[in-house]
Subunit: 424 residues, 2 copies
């Protein structure tokens, strides 16, 4: 049993994490929020108080922290007596926060893979370049580290585990599809920091096909799906964290990640990228001023946080899996739909932050009650998926299942499946 949460990172996702932790502080205990900019933590606390989100009276505190400083992070963990650290800060901070957890014994949970600021799209599998090098250390010290416990990676890894465990004898292909069918109503905007957003698309796209890593360019391969509720959507083969653990942990020869982009988004991206305006390398103007083009582009684009109040529509994220069950072919879709405006009303963030921020809190609750307190480093697919998906359903991220002609809530499907399993 572990308690007291230290949340590191106070952006849109941090805001959701803090709100959701507050809603469950009966289980989680004290809630501490740390960021290099302490004012952002204070604003989140203000929002939690305004929403009356704390389930019961309890500690809710803001801290200034440079999380690249391991000893400062260690000191804060010790001072707050936090036994669970949720890292939703920059992708550049994972390894130093993990180290502080190793030194203090606190459980570590993050939602995205470590990135080296100087490298765009490292060689696969990405986890092996950084996090997995500390697997042995976690095991020796009995430290729980849950990697990639957002939605994707995170919930989609649990979908994969659930399918492998209960619905298939063999999975031939797993296509993870992530669509934002919502609209921010601006000419163009990125849903999170443009500097990080565009990095995902300017390098090589790696996917796991026929049991090996396959390189593509961004926007080179697309698919069309008629998805429940959000309808016909075009998505593009994209590199993404979860492929790098699922390919190692599951025996599935084809695992691909597809992200939805409108033609307009792709057009703007292509123009900016082709002109060199997404470059991280400085150029000199005729007047002699050195400017990093990407930083100017960031300056002219809307602040992603400013989009939430008027965001409309839904996000759609799920796994389409094909394989066999009892000797016959089977196709299964596990998915979640989330509404931007609902998320904003509840937490002050839109659905993209919400879907990323609720799962690590669910993971923390499962660590707190022991269900997921693995005492080693794991990716989400290595943990029991049903308690996680069940808890998420009650926390605002319900899962639906489409199997054959039926489309139903996960809890019904689990029943059906159990009946089938026992009946067969």
């Amino acid at each position: 049993m572990k308690k007291n949460i230290l949340i590191i990172g106070a952006g849109g996702v941090g805001q959701v994490v803090a709100h959701k932790a507050a809603q469950h502080n009966d289980v989680l205990g004290d809630i501490h929020i740390a960021s290099r900019t302490v004012e952002k933590c204070h604003r989140i606390i203000q929002s939690i108080l305004e929403h009356k989100a704390l389930k019961r009276p309890g500690i809710l505190a803001a801290h200034a922290l440079d999380a690249t400083d391991i000893s400062a992070t260690r000191a804060l963990i010790e001072r707050t007596r936090a036994q669970i650290v949720i890292n939703v800060g920059s992708a550049f901070l994972n390894m130093s926060i993990l180290e502080a957890c190793l030194e203090t014994g606190a459980a570590y949970i993050d939602t995205a893979i470590h990135e080296d600021p100087d490298k765009v799209c490292e060689s696969p599998p990405w986890y092996a370049n950084h996090e997995w090098q500390r697997k042995q250390a976690c095991k020796q010290r009995g430290v729980t580290a849950i990697l990639g416990a957002g939605f994707d990676p995170g919930v989609v890894n649990a979908y994969a585990a659930l399918a492998a465990e209960r619905y298939f004898d063999a999975i031939e292909s797993m296509d993870i599809i992530d669509v934002n069918a919502g609209s921010h109503g601006r000419y163009f905007a990125t849903n999170f920091d443009p500097e990080i957003n565009f990095r995902e698309f300017t390098g090589t796209v790696w996917s796991w096909q026929q049991g090996q890593w396959t390189p593509n360019r961004m926007f080179e391969v697309s698919r069309q799906d008629d998805l429940p509720v959000v309808g016909n959507q075009t998505t593009y083969l994209t590199g993404h964290d979860e492929l790098h653990s699922l390919s190692a942990n599951l025996d599935v020869p084809n695992i691909r990640f597809w992200m939805g982009f409108g033609a307009h988004y792709i057009n703007v991206f292509t123009v900016l990228n082709s002109l060199g305006l997404l470059s991280e390398k400085p150029v000199k103007t005729a007047e002699g001023l050195e400017v990093v083009p990407l930083k100017l582009v960031k300056a002219v684009l809307p602040d992603p946080a400013s989009l939430a109040p008027t965001y409309e529509g839904k996000t759609w994220i799920g796994n389409l899996m094909r394989g066999s069950w009892n000797g016959t072919p089977r196709e299964m879709l596990l998915y979640n739909i989330c509404d931007h405006a609902d998320c904003y009303r509840e937490t002050g963030s839109q659905a993209i932050s919400y879907t990323a921020g609720v799962p690590p809190v669910a993971a923390a609750m499962l660590v707190a009650d022991g269900t997921w307190d693995a005492h080693r480093m794991v990716n989400v697919e290595e943990l029991p998926p049903a308690p996680f998906l069940d808890l998420l359903g009650r926390m605002g991220l319900p899962t639906r299942v489409r199997l054959g002609d039926a489309d139903m809530p996960l809890e019904d499907a689990l029943g059906t499946d159990e009946e089938r399993r026992t009946g067969s």
Copy 2:
């Protein structure tokens, strides 16, 4: 009879003007080239010598000049004994150079309207805001000032005058069409300084329709024409200098200017403009650096001068006129086609600079021999068009005529027309 030429401006057009003046220095006398950056003048002289362009041995000299300084310009005119000044410098210099001509008595020739650096698209008619305010002064002092003697404005004004004089009893509409059907082979580039290029399109588009000034937005109105040699072309209603004198000097109720843009150009322009990246107003990056977006865009785009060596294809500029002749409807097309690679071989500049640079030299030759030495301020349509067009034909810019089913060189048409006229 006037002689000795002072060319102010040493860009791509200045290079063509200097080359062509050198080819006719038997008529024009000494050739002086002045620019704020004297090295650019020296490079042009080098190019003239390499091309052996001087018709006969003569003076060819470079001068450093800040042409906003009227007394310095006056002193240079006096020192060089130039009796004709060709202004192909920045559009911001017209009024100060004109003043120096008024003080010295030198003839003044330019190719584009004066612009105030702080104003984008002033109210029509543009000439009345600046140049025409000096009409009286020119007349009093007997100074010849020929405004807008490039191709458009310039040759297209002569096309208008020729049509009004010889081919129509009444002209109902005049559509001036400017198409660059060539290709520079880059992803995107502007054909001249991006800062000036984009200014043409970010303000209101003024046209002369049904006898009054009509405002539109850029890319709001388009037309399609199947043009001789270059084929089917889409052009867009654009504001342009010549409308502002033709509407005053000719009795034509509809005068419009159409510029050709490919879908790709418009797309890139629209993306950059919509994101605010064409703005002249500085923005501040997250790091606190103040950057004028347009200056960064200029820095990432190819240098226009670098396009000339590999430019392929042709420019097409002409007037489509509809009206009546002897009581029957008539449509007439007067046009020029110019080849980028041919221009580069002859002068080291591509066809866009060539079509703008040859006409002011032809105008200077007509001033030199007295044909166009008007001793007052005029726009090109106020001068006899035939000698100008005839001379241009011999200088590399031949005019063709399409009238009914016939399409022929202008010299043949003038013959045909004369015969018709006499025969009728």
